[in-house]
Symmetry: C2
Subunit: 392 residues, 2 copies
Amino acid sequence: MENFNFYSPTEFVFGKDTEHKVGQLLKQHGANKVFIHYGGGSVKKTGLLDRVKKSIEKEGLDYVTLGGAKPNPVDTLVYEGIELCKKEDCDFILPVGGGSTIDSAKAIAAGALYDGDFWDFYDRKARIEKALPVGVVLTIPAAGSEGSSASVITKESEGLKRGTGSKYLRPKFAVINPELTYTLPMWHTAAGIVDMMSHIFERYLTPTKDVILTDRMSEGVLVSIMEAARTIMKEPKNYEARATICWAGTIAHNGVLGVGRAEDWTTHGLEHELSALYDMTHGAGLAIMFPAFMRYTLNQDVERYYRFATKVMSVPENHEHKREAALEGIKRLEIFFGEIGMPTTFEEADAKKEDIPKLLKTLKQNAGEKLGTFMSLTLDDAKKIYESACEK
Amino acid sequence: MENFNFYSPTEFVFGKDTEHKVGQLLKQHGANKVFIHYGGGSVKKTGLLDRVKKSIEKEGLDYVTLGGAKPNPVDTLVYEGIELCKKEDCDFILPVGGGSTIDSAKAIAAGALYDGDFWDFYDRKARIEKALPVGVVLTIPAAGSEGSSASVITKESEGLKRGTGSKYLRPKFAVINPELTYTLPMWHTAAGIVDMMSHIFERYLTPTKDVILTDRMSEGVLVSIMEAARTIMKEPKNYEARATICWAGTIAHNGVLGVGRAEDWTTHGLEHELSALYDMTHGAGLAIMFPAFMRYTLNQDVERYYRFATKVMSVPENHEHKREAALEGIKRLEIFFGEIGMPTTFEEADAKKEDIPKLLKTLKQNAGEKLGTFMSLTLDDAKKIYESACEK
């Protein structure tokens, strides 16, 4: 087991009707004027935004609102948010939405207390030294941003998608009501499921030995996610299955399933270029890239993929033919992604083989020429992985 | 899944040589004058106390020390600690030790900022509204107190053992170096293992349905604990096994394995009377009480015990005879406790059947006449459980 720091100070307030507690939580955390950030119209349509405002008003707090956060959130809205936040003298940022809205809000929180261009943080020109406190009302279980220190923003003009991280970005609290996800379109539900599974894969697949405790916890969560996903496909309003997905999405990325081991994040890097180029849903891109990455890196650690196949994908144990069993595990994962409506090839997502040079160009800009922890990869390897993902 | 709040803000700094970071951590958390609290001579003998002092001195911080914390920590030392802490104007409490030292330190932390008698908090006459910040250097993985909001103290003059809890008692940080546990006597290692398993049982056994995600994580941790325990019995200096036990002890009680379900704590209540009367090691008392409690409550939820038997204790599935399989699971647990040197009957621990009325008297004082969440129990039930624990 590697040395580690585990620090997840976010207060998670989980369950039915919990959005009514948001005013109280803001007050406890010292908010005076709240910057509410959201995405499209769904939080208005469902009445959630009104319930949140009411809860804030009940505590006598002020607020301003800024909507418009998009999937793959963009720098232009962040600049607008920072300006509004400064002008209105807000002291607490409250995203109401999914990972994109939260990431956008985190960028605003850091940018509002920074004299330079907030993009410096994403461009690795500056480190975040402070940020306004962030609290979250989660509507899409996927990115785990409600419990993480990370934020990913796309610079629209250059098509660059980059991430930063800081303890100052970790939400003070996150309100998670699984009922709010009943109306989430199946596509977003499924993409969120792939996203959270991928967060576990980026940790679970690293070759560190002797983290059996973390392995077993991760396997339990992965199995539970797939089981709940299949229930939701049939019964979108099954509370227990929605609750499992919501909580799994949070712990998949708050660090508890990563203790004591290295993390990889190569597949996220490969995917970022796909979603930046095509404005593809992040989870859909991951459903394409993960099986390809897994097959490409299989020989690096057959034991690890064999464990994954037998413990997570229910492939029968076969000590004589571990490689075949491991491959069967990857195949079953791909079938599962298809089952929940996700693409698993470029072809199925209208991505083009001819664009691979473009993907490699931005990959080089964003991630450099050397990738990978699980396996050292070059841009030529990345090319081969992209190519293998084009069609079945 | 029940609504829940999950809040575990402690920063866990885990791994080899981490005790050298304690000065730095104290400084980051604003300490000026540190109250170091410890138990017997072992932290002196091993040189740990000196390393901790050196790390504190390196950051230019002051400190005072108070040793003498005992297993089943007592009120008299807490009073002494509060007085010393006030006199010396300490602003940070640093227990260096196991659960008893940490619990004693938490009582001092709360008492130092309270005008009345600190026992009020344990006697349910007052609620903790503030406390000095606590940081921990852990030497015994067992109680999980390094990541919990709880503290248990024994009032010596009356033989009362009582617990309290408050968010103000949660340690700001906990330094956990598994190497420090190499020299822990096998008895304490084993008692700690029973203690952490019991913390999971008090949650895992409650009848709430549909917390499958938490169930699977808990099962993974329980299996890993038993596996690591067997390794340690053969190789006390096996780093990975010690690390597994250390981290398992923390997450067994920081709340992550309790989300979405009720908790029970009846068996802890029954055990508290044993350890208060005989000054018995808490873990040893739990090894006696848990199999007895499990057999007594088996019919309340055969399915739950069947799950425990098949998922944790490796009993083969047998849908025709679930009750028998469940019983076999409890038997295997008892055998495991014996394997690691723990008593599983009164007889083996020199406790006396004749003392049961005494145990029931203090149980009534401490816990009242109604016990249990998993199953509603009366004092008469408690009597029968004690009786069944007397001998095999």
